[in-house]
């Protein structure tokens, strides 16, 4: 059996930062409890031997499906449609947070 560990406050806080989520102090204890319970349950996958099994990404049995957007470009959105749902814009740019 591999290392045993628990999803504790430190890990949860780290996962929240990786996921770009802000947790408030009220919801954190309940999230820790529920996530750890879920993690404990899913450990039952270790009861199954998968040594020689290949993974399934999706059940569609499809290969190399390609789509040519074409000259018509029928899915193109107008500038108005593109900016309709945002409040963060300046001219024809979206405003983002500073990254660097």
């Amino acid at each position: 059996m591999k290392k045993r560990f628990k999803l504790d406050k430190n890990i949860i806080t780290y996962l929240a930062s990786l996921s770009n989520l802000t947790l408030n102090s009220k919801e954190t204890p309940s999230l820790i409890k529920k996530l750890e319970e879920t993690r404990e349950f899913i450990e039952n996958i270790n009861q199954i031997n998968t040594k020689k099994v290949t993974p399934t990404e999706h059940p569609g049995y499809l290969k190399n499906v390609i789509f040519n957007d074409g000259v018509k470009n029928e899915r193109k959105l107008s500038e108005e449609q593109t900016f309709k749902n945002t409040k963060n814009k300046k001219g024809d740019y979206f405003i983002t947070k500073k990254i660097l």
Partner: protein, 462 residues
Amino acid sequence: MKLIGKTLTELLSLIDKKQISEEETANYFLKRAIKYNRKLNVFINLRNKIKFQKKGVLKGIPIPFKDNFLTKDINTSAASNLLKDFIPPYNSTVVQRLLNNGSSILGKTNMDAWAHGSSTETSDFGPTKNPWDITRSPGGSSGGSAAAVSAYLSPIAIGSETAGSVRQPAAWCGIVGLKPTYGRVSRYGVIAMGSSLDCPGVLALSVKDSAIILSLIAGKDKYDATTSDISVPNYQYLIKSPKKYKIGIPEEYLKDTEKDIKNNILDAVKIYEKMGHKIVKIKLMSPKYSVSVYTIIQRAEVSSNLSRYDGLRYGKTRDFFGEEAKKRIMLGTFTLSQGYVDEYYKKAQKIRTLIIEDFNKAFKEVDLILAPTTPNTAMKLGESSKYSFFGELMDRLNEPSSVAGLPGISIPSGLDKKELPTSMQIIGRSFEEESILNLAYQFEQETNFFNLYEKQSKNYPD
């Protein structure tokens, strides 16, 4: 003319014979929807006027769409405050195909936020009530669509299923719920949850109605690379010729199932035997492993899909995610993170292969599988919060077939002692929807689903 309880097929025939008009029909359902929405909280967005059409197969029949189907110029929120003000610039393929065939939009139905859940209680707009008992949940995540059909606010509705989200609410609301094969119906314009699992589905009063709708929405869509180009048969025509099947009953699915649900299935088995079908017991992998595989894969895909909601181009900031979405995003981030990806995500993908092989083996022996849809009938509102992963446990009898991408249909099997509907599901081979519909239709012809709708329509008069 009294329209209450009429199926889509019957309504279309009445319109055809000019006994009612397209306008009367559309207004009839709008009136009922307005009347009962306050009591049941079925709609997040109910149109105040219907732009009905006088064309196509569907002749203006208004359809409720689950609120994760994009509708051009009509708010689409996936029941989350994050997308409360989002107005899509285009229609999802399912919506577009139904509009092209003459339907209209009745409204957008309530659901678990982001389709995360099996009760509609994670909706940011309050839970939907089960029309059979308003202190209970209609199930979910397509709970609004199921309740709409159950209270006859519409003869059909569109939902979506990742694992159980069509079949389970159909079961709890006592109606027909069809989940097609993964790739049979386009996911284009459906707010993505678990992309290797998501599948649009149909909630309906009758098997034939669900067959009609499937014929219209199924098939290759160039905007969804995972749709199959296998041709779409005329399902409603095929079900008219009853076929004899060899049906497998998986023992593992009957364990931990409420007594009344089990007894009603055993009665259904007797009915099928009498009709000349052959029933055999089969063994399938325990659903408890599918619960884990599903939980891992779905959370991983959720964490990836929901990363696009950064509040920049549309929607509000990530602070508007509810607890359930946060939980799922974080678990998915965990199972995909360095050091754990092999242990959880890759391992789950391998067991997914084994689950598919397990079904393939079973389908060498039998044509179809018959099992309970849910382990229990509708639960009280509020109960779901007691569970860490309520949805997964409620859907544990749907998860194996969803993980394998198989088609399934849930149909009513009677009532339990609490007078709540019980259900059973028929699972078939990939892209053999005509077989599950055929067997379901035979049961409907024989039993009329125990007159559940007649009983229910008395509770929801015009």
